[in-house]
Structure formats: structure tokens, C-alpha cells
Subunit: 152 residues, 2 copies
DNA sequence: AAACAATCGTTGACTTTTTCAATGATCCGT
DNA sequence: ACGGATCATTGAAAAAGTCAACGATTGTTT
């Protein structure tokens, strides 16, 4: 085997004009990243999605399910499933909305924060792996550009 | 209403630490982009995936289905479906592999190239819309970073 | 204050997408 | 020529996504 297992070679097809298509590049990087992330999160019984929900529950921002759906680009019914799962496992709790009693606020439990810390550490290793070809400066640049593209 | 309909506001939750998570940023930008792209491509009976296959078929690189699967991060059986569809509509043809008779090379038809040109133009408008918040230089930078992250 | 439309979370049905194992044909190394 | 690997393909099973409807609650209009 080669010197490092994460070796990548530029595929022949990258030469095509579509190799610069932003949509495709995003899809590909997202796909390979998800694979790595989900593999790493499996140790904690999480996936990318449930980890995102858990993270936001741990953030202190007290998100409603609707906000989670909007922010994570999910259907509200998908959020129900994700929160159900996390709640059954005692990582998260549903609390009544403060101004709006229809809304439910998702907050983390102590155990939820414990798991989240471990999972986050594992994920950071993943990101480093995925963006290994980028310098630290480029890494920061990429995040900034993605954020700007999303929210100006 | 605002001056432009594509107005975006930074959501409250973006303040969370996860708002800088590369995985999430990629997922979100990819999600919103796919929505726009698929809507634009619908006029030509295409979706993001079939457009990618068609593009590579038009590239002159004579990709095999296996190469398409690898490059597009798809299961080989998904490529079969995509090519079936494009072939039934006369946009693409399966040709026998040159060195390898197991492999099938996907090449575009005249009609395929005609549709592709139209679709590509529509997609370029989409990309401009999606990356409207970025300057031309940042746009180029983003592409470069994504490519580098993928293939070094 | 009564009536109305709109929103939140939830459920369930439905479709699409993804994943995976098995198959015949072909290639490659021995 | 044999054996193991790879290609495209099929079909089945699992997962994910979409969508309409509902009760509860909110904000708005009259």
C-alpha cells in the first residue's frame, strides 16, 4: 500500500468543464465528507444530522424545531424524528416555547453535552483529514467563503 | 418586500459554533444550490445528476459508467438508471469500451449536445444567483479551494 | 370578543433515493 | 486454461425525502 491511506489522485474526468461546476464540487466534497463524518459519529450512535441537532441543542440558543428545520434545510417532520431519537436516548429534551406555546424548544441534557463533546472531538479529526490538502489559511478561507455565499 | 427577491438574512442559529462546521456549510450550500439547479433544469427534463452525466458524455473524454460512478460519487446501479433515461431520450449512447469490452463508454448524440448547451446556459445563471454574495474573485477562489480540497 | 386565517409540531401515506447482494460477461495474472 | 477480480445490470430491501392533513395555539380582522 502507499505511504498514506488517504491518498487521492486527480481523476481523469476532472478535466471536463464540469470539473469546475460549483454544484458538482459541493456535492462531491459533501458526499466524501459525510461518509467520513458518519463513520466517525457511529461510535456515539450519531449521524451528521442528529449531531447537528445535538450541537444546536447544546448551543444555549434554545432553538425551536422550526428553526432547526429551516437552518438545517430539513422538513419539519424530519426534525421530529431526529429529536424523538435524541430524546429517547436522554441527550435532549423538549421544553415549551416561551413566547409561543405551540413551539417546542430543544435543550440538551447533561449526558447530551457529554456525548456532544466527545463526538465533536472526533469530528474535528475528520475535518482535518478531509481538508488535509488545504493549508490552515486556506481552511479558514474556505469556511469564510461558504458562510458568505450562504448569508452574505 | 426587499430590493431583491433572493434576499437572505443571517439566521439566529448561525451564531452557534456549528455555524462554522464545514460539513454543515457544505450540506446547506449544496441543498440550496440543488433546489435552484433542479428547478432550472426541469425545463429540459434534466436534474442535477442527469445533467452531470450528460455533461461528461459531451466532454469528449468518453467516460465509462464506472468512471462516472466514481467521479459523481454514485452507486454503479444509479448510473445505469441515469444512462438508461438519457439513452431512451436519445441524448446519449452506450458504446463498447475500447480496451475493455466489459466497460461501456457513454457518448453524447447531436441532440444531447444541443440540449446540453441550453441547459448549461440556464445553470450558469443559477450559479450566479447562488453565489451572488461573492465577488468574481471570491467566486474563483471558492472553486479553486473546493478542487484543491478534493484532489490536492 | 368573536371569527378568521396562519403557524407549530406531529402523524401517516407516498415517492424517491440509497444501499447491497447476486449474476453473466470479460479481463488479468499465473 | 484456470481463478480471482472487475464491469454493467438487475432486483430487493432500507433509508430518506415529500406532502397533505390534523389539533393546538397564535395573531389579525372585524
Amino acid at each position: 500500500m502507499g505511504p498514506q491511506s488517504t491518498e487521492v489522485e486527480t481523476p481523469r474526468l476532472a478535466a471536463a468543464k464540469i470539473g469546475s461546476d460549483v454544484g458538482l464540487l459541493l456535492a462531491k466534497l459533501h458526499a466524501t465528507g459525510s461518509l467520513l463524518n458518519n463513520k466517525a459519529l457511529a461510535d456515539y450512535g450519531l449521524r451528521e444530522r442528529s449531531f447537528s441537532v445535538l450541537t444546536l441543542a447544546c448551543s444555549g440558543l434554545e432553538p425551536t424545531q422550526r428553526e432547526l428545520a429551516d437552518f438545517l434545510s430539513l422538513d419539519p417532520s424530519q426534525v421530529v424524528s431526529l429529536v424523538d431519537d435524541l430524546e429517547h436516548r436522554g441527550l435532549v429534551k423538549r421544553a415549551q416555547g416561551k413566547q409561543d406555546r405551540r413551539a417546542k424548544i430543544i435543550v440538551s441534557t447533561t449526558e447530551g453535552r457529554r456525548i456532544h463533546n466527545k463526538a465533536r472531538a472526533a469530528l474535528e479529526v475528520c475535518e482535518e483529514t478531509q481538508l488535509a490538502a488545504l493549508s490552515e489559511e486556506e481552511n479558514v478561507q474556505l469556511r469564510a467563503l461558504l458562510k458568505k455565499a450562504l448569508w452574505g
